[in-house]
Symmetry: C2
Subunit: 350 residues, 2 copies
């Protein structure tokens, strides 16, 4: 029986009670509003957690990269949504391999992507569901107008082995409904139904029911939580299930302490926050700078300060980036290690 | 025979000719000035490259974390410098295991760390060389004054199984010489010699000979290079051996393109630079934003713009953070893949 205090640092910890509660809370909310749950596994990249999400009632999982989907499919996940433009013969072949094993749907935001998908699907005589991605202000991928969305939907229906399955965007906001409505109106004239409207985002997750056109939801960070999620008020501190334990390895000055975790532990993600993490026992401390394996903390605002060798627990800015830096995540319950999960889909960039 | 163009993206590439030249260039420079070369493997985390560095004449390698040192020792590296405060029984036991197999020296900047090292070394009847870390303005670890450095050196000599081996700092600058000189003067009164003065940093590497007190040098990024190294003018663009190949997966607007690499490919390290990388064929393009698996590029300043499906090659801001995000690095020569290296010490955070 290993207690948290016995773990070497830096260690990435998941509190299982909180994790289970977080999975259940969103599932219940989406269930109660008739919205299908497609949790995004980019946050954890761990098949065991994906299986917990499915067991709790998720319709399937969302993966961001094909490599993640392959690892999750290998682990027995049967329904995967891959909202990414897949390009190039190698990736299209891999998609077809997956489509022979599991139910998988993808997205497209250009004729180029649709043509590639259509050709591969035809060659393999597989029917691939495709959603059209639209941009609601993030300024990333996605078509810019309802007419463009409708044009691509029509192109999908014209490919013999593609199935137009609906619309996808991230995040959801006040522009989303109008875009969906206008696209639907154009498509109705051609008798093309929009079966799925997939939106996502943990910060906005509790507002999903305010958008009656939404049929499914993709949230990632809701299982863990982090400073970014806390700032959005989508989660409370006592719900945060993910943190990093570090050791104070130096106290070079009365005000400064150095932790044994830096940008290779916490990532450099700031996301508009001040500093790189929140130290639980020292809320007034500032983790103000990172080098690769050191965290610089200013304890000048704290009346009590840690000594060399003390451990401090950090809630990082962005859990998705932090899990991606660890080889394994330690799952604990009541402070006792229950299991250790390799981050199986870590580095699945392709 | 695989050509670069056939690799799936995003792919992290090392140009072997340039890598070999970079290894040789620094080795020759340090050799010509009688400075011992201890390259920092945090940049590559690949045993094969460490072996190339040793074969070229490096006295040993530098690792930042104990886990890195274990992996390098397993791969046959016999001389390792670990400039990190090792704390806690588990890590000290692991250090003693390593010290039984290879030559390893460490650093300390507090009596706490020295006491821990001394006790472990005594228990195992091993002699551990320890350098005192001092702070020359980085504001990370390290004692603040020559008197503190001398006090710790004396404490090391008083531990039966520790050997005071010298002084260590990062980076080197105009304060370093005075600090070393004053510490030496204090220690000379006690008859304690300062055998090693270890400094580091790729940006300053070609100035090492200007500091006659330096006995050894730790550089990491010099093997690969990146935008940060280019800005420092320690390397030229035609010497940069490391880059990331990506594919344009979306062209949502006439000016914007989206790449299939984001913060999980390039890291969020800015290091004071504008944007997250330099696109080789489009020097006026700005990689202005990253989400986890997407890179946002503004091509408005470029007369020619890439199409969906085109590949673009990116020199990232910080090679050390990028290699740490990839499962493997593809080594090429004249555009042809020669080998693929797993990033063996990736995630060796403990």
């Amino acid at each position: 029986m290993t207690a948290i205090d016995q773990l070497e640092t830096p260690a990435a910890i998941v509190d299982l009670d909180r994790l289970e509660n977080n999975i259940e809370r969103l599932q219940n909310y989406l269930d109660s509003h008739g919205i299908s749950n497609w949790p995004h596994i980019k946050t954890h990249k761990i098949p065991a957690i994906a299986q917990m999400q499915i067991a709790a009632g998720a319709a399937g999982i969302t993966c961001q990269k094909l490599g993640e989907a392959e690892i999750m499919a290998q682990a027995g996940i049967q329904n995967i949504f891959l909202p990414y433009n897949l390009i190039g013969q190698a990736k299209l072949e891999r998609l077809m391999m997956l489509a022979q094993q599991i139910q998988i749907s993808v997205t497209a935001d250009s004729a180029f992507v649709i043509d590639g998908l259509g050709k591969a699907a035809r060659q393999h005589a597989l029917n691939i569901p495709v959603l059209v991605e639209f941009d609601t202000g993030l300024g990333r991928c996605g078509v810019q107008t309802p007419q463009q969305a409708a044009d691509l939907a029509l192109q999908i229906t014209q490919q013999s082995h593609l199935v137009f399955d609906g619309l996808m965007t991230y995040p959801i906001n006040e522009h989303t409904g109008k875009f969906v409505q206008q696209t639907k109106e154009i498509l109705e004239k051609d008798g093309i139904p929009v079966r799925r409207v997939s939106v996502g985002g943990t910060p906005q997750m509790w507002t999903a029911h305010q958008y009656p056109f939404v049929t499914e939801y993709r949230a990632g960070m809701y299982i863990y939580g982090d400073r970014y999620t806390l700032r959005s008020e989508a989660m409370k501190l006592e719900q945060v299930a993910f943190y990093v334990i570090t050791t104070v390895v130096s106290r070079p000055t009365p005000e400064r302490a150095i932790l044994d975790g830096g940008s290779k532990t916490f990532s450099s993600d700031l996301l508009g926050l001040d500093g790189y993490g929140m130290i639980l026992a020292y809320p007034d401390a500032r983790l103000y700078q990172l080098s690769e394996e050191h965290g610089f903390v200013d304890f000048s605002a704290c009346s009590e300060k840690p000594a060399i060798g003390d451990r401090v627990t950090v809630v990082p800015n962005h859990c998705c980036s932090v899990t991606n830096l660890f080889n394994e995540i330690v799952a604990v319950r009541n402070g006792i290690v229950e299991t250790t999960w390799p981050v199986a889909a870590r580095g699945a960039l392709q």
